[in-house]
């Protein structure tokens, strides 16, 4: 079992969701986050005063998957989120120790899907 965490552009969320549904990954947790990479954020100006390097809005996805779903999930995220320009985001894959479905108390692979 793995947990896939992806940081993507907010306006790519719909496209990524569509691609994930196509590979039958239907379980996803989404949260709005702030951050920046090499481009060091954006400039904002308030009453003539420039604020340099404010964080950019991003969306963070958390998806728990069984091992055979890892590659399709990564490919789907890339397909939906890639523009080729700076700021497209990153994908991190972690090992997942345990997973428990609260409703049934099932554990492990069965609890993910």
């Amino acid at each position: 079992m793995k947990i896939v965490i992806a940081i993507i552009q907010p306006h790519k969320l719909e496209a990524v969701k569509k691609e994930l549904y196509k590979v039958e990954v239907n379980l996803i947790t989404v949260s709005p986050v702030l951050g920046h990479g090499k481009q060091k954020g954006v400039n904002e100006v308030y009453r003539g005063v420039k604020e340099v390097g404010n964080f950019l809005r991003k969306v963070r996805l958390e998806i728990a998957v069984n091992d055979n779903f890892v590659e399709p999930t990564i490919k789907a995220i890339v397909k939906g989120a890639k523009t080729g320009k700076i700021g497209d985001g990153k994908i991190f894959v972690y090992p997942l120790e345990r997973c428990i479905r609260i409703r049934t108390e099932e554990e492990g692979s069965a609890a993910i899907g």
């Binding site: 306006h11 709005p32 904002e44 100006v45 809005r57």
Partner: protein, 411 residues
């Protein structure tokens, strides 16, 4: 010098302030409907119109609209308000200072281009919007205003009735919006799917301010603090109430749930529809006008728009265009001299000719606005380009056009 009446003057000045508040009200009405990354863009456009068109109006817009001229446009003798002073102008309002009439009309000139922005929300460059607005105010609003309300204007001479601006404001803005959305194109990524409203309470707040301000818009158009103002006040309120309820019931019936968004949309549609009729119809007619406008507008925005696939983002045409056309035609059906001796009888009061007059006024407005708006859009597109870059549209207009954001995620 004509006699200035204190009551009339007080009412028209208060009404001017009420109509002024409608533009910020509209800013919230529209601002709540866009995504959170574009809300400041909408607020900014409304406020800049309030600033820019007010100046345009006193410098030359008022003269082009109301100074004696030819049947199509006013003359230049009132440039910079030359000759527009404290003494009344009996051609327009004999009992209030000419300046009071001028500033009341200024608020109409301001809100009309602001209504259009709902059609091209979330995708237009700020510079293009600003040039478009000034050209549109000068070449569309001012001439049409003269044709309908100016002394010697040809639609006025024709006998078409427009109490408070159904043609000049609502059909005009609605049709301009439709043309703009067709020329500019859809928002990216939202083919035929509704965009998520980012703040529905803002929409409700905006609608409430519009309803409040509309008393100045319609009852103020009596240009005096008398019986006619009371008539227009009551028809305005009742049409809005009927339309809001009608939309809610319609939605309940069609979609299974009545919504607040639908209800406030209905209220605004009712206010639009009663605008040309407010001082010419009886209260029961206002109820009918209100109930039916929601039926027409509901059909326009929920059936026709998705089917034809144009992206009138915030329904400037669907509410103001359709509602305005219905109101103008309804004035030809329901007007009666028993309400306003200076008006006319409509179709249901034995004068079918009035309906024909209204129909001609609607037709002229639609054609004139559509053609001139199209030309202006093409000119602006050639000058600076109408749309923002794809990347900027995705990031949002707040950050890319104004370098500000409305809401923080962290403190």
């Amino acid at each position: 010098m004509e006699m200035i009446n204190a009551g009339d003057t007080a009412w028209v000045l208060a009404s001017s302030a009420l109509v002024m508040l409608m533009t910020p009200g509209l800013a919230f009405f529209y601002g709540g409907m866009v995504r959170r990354k574009n809300v400041l863009g909408i607020l900014m456009q409304c406020f800049i119109i309030l600033c820019a068109v007010s100046l345009q109006w006193v410098l030359f817009g008022y003269s082009l609209s109301f100074a004696p001229g030819n049947p199509l446009v006013g003359g230049l003798q009132w440039l910079g308000l030359s000759g527009v002073g404290q003494a009344p102008n009996p051609d327009y309002a004999a009992t209030i200072p000419h300046l009071a009439f001028m500033i009341f009309q200024a608020m109409f000139a301001v809100i009309t281009p602001a209504l259009i922005i709902g059609a091209f929300a979330e995708r237009v460059k700020f510079s293009a919007f600003l040039i478009f607005t000034l050209l549109w105010a000068t070449f569309v609003y001012d001439p049409l205003c003269h044709m309908v309300w100016g002394v010697g204007g040809w639609l006025r001479s024709l006998g078409a009735l427009d109490f408070a601006g159904g043609t000049v404001v609502h059909i005009n803005a609605g049709v301009a919006g439709l043309v703009a959305t067709l020329v500019i194109g859809k928002r990216r990524g939202y083919e035929n799917t509704p965009t998520p409203l980012h703040n529905l309470p803002f929409v409700v707040l905006g609608a409430a301010l519009l309803w409040f301000g509309w008393f100045g818009f319609n009852a103020g158009s009596a240009l005096g603090a008398g019986a006619l103002a009371a008539q227009a006040f009551v028809t305005t309120h009742i049409a809005a109430a009927a339309a809001g309820l009608s939309w809610a019931l319609l939605e309940w019936n069609v979609n299974g749930r009545p919504t607040i968004f639908g209800t406030v949309t209905g209220v605004v549609a009712g206010l639009v529809a009663i605008t040309p009729a407010a001082g010419f119809v009886a209260v029961p007619s206002a109820i009918i006008i209100g109930i039916l406008v929601s039926v027409f507008c509901f059909y326009a925005v929920s059936v026709v728009k998705p089917k034809l696939g144009y992206d009138d983002s915030l329904d400037a045409f669907g509410v103001h265009g359709i509602g305005g056309i219905w109101g103008a035609l309804a004035t030809g059906l329901f007007a009666t001299k028993s309400v306003n001796a200076a008006g006319a009888d409509g179709f249901f009061y034995g004068n079918p000719q009035q309906f024909v007059n209204q129909f001609i006024a609607v037709g002229v407005t639609v054609v004139f606005t559509a053609v001139v708006t199209f030309v202006i859009l093409k000119v602006v597109d050639a000058l600076v380009g109408l749309r923002v870059k794809e990347e900027d549209e995705e990031i949002g207009l707040d950050l890319t056009q104004h370098q500000e954001v409305a809401y923080t995620v962290l403190e």
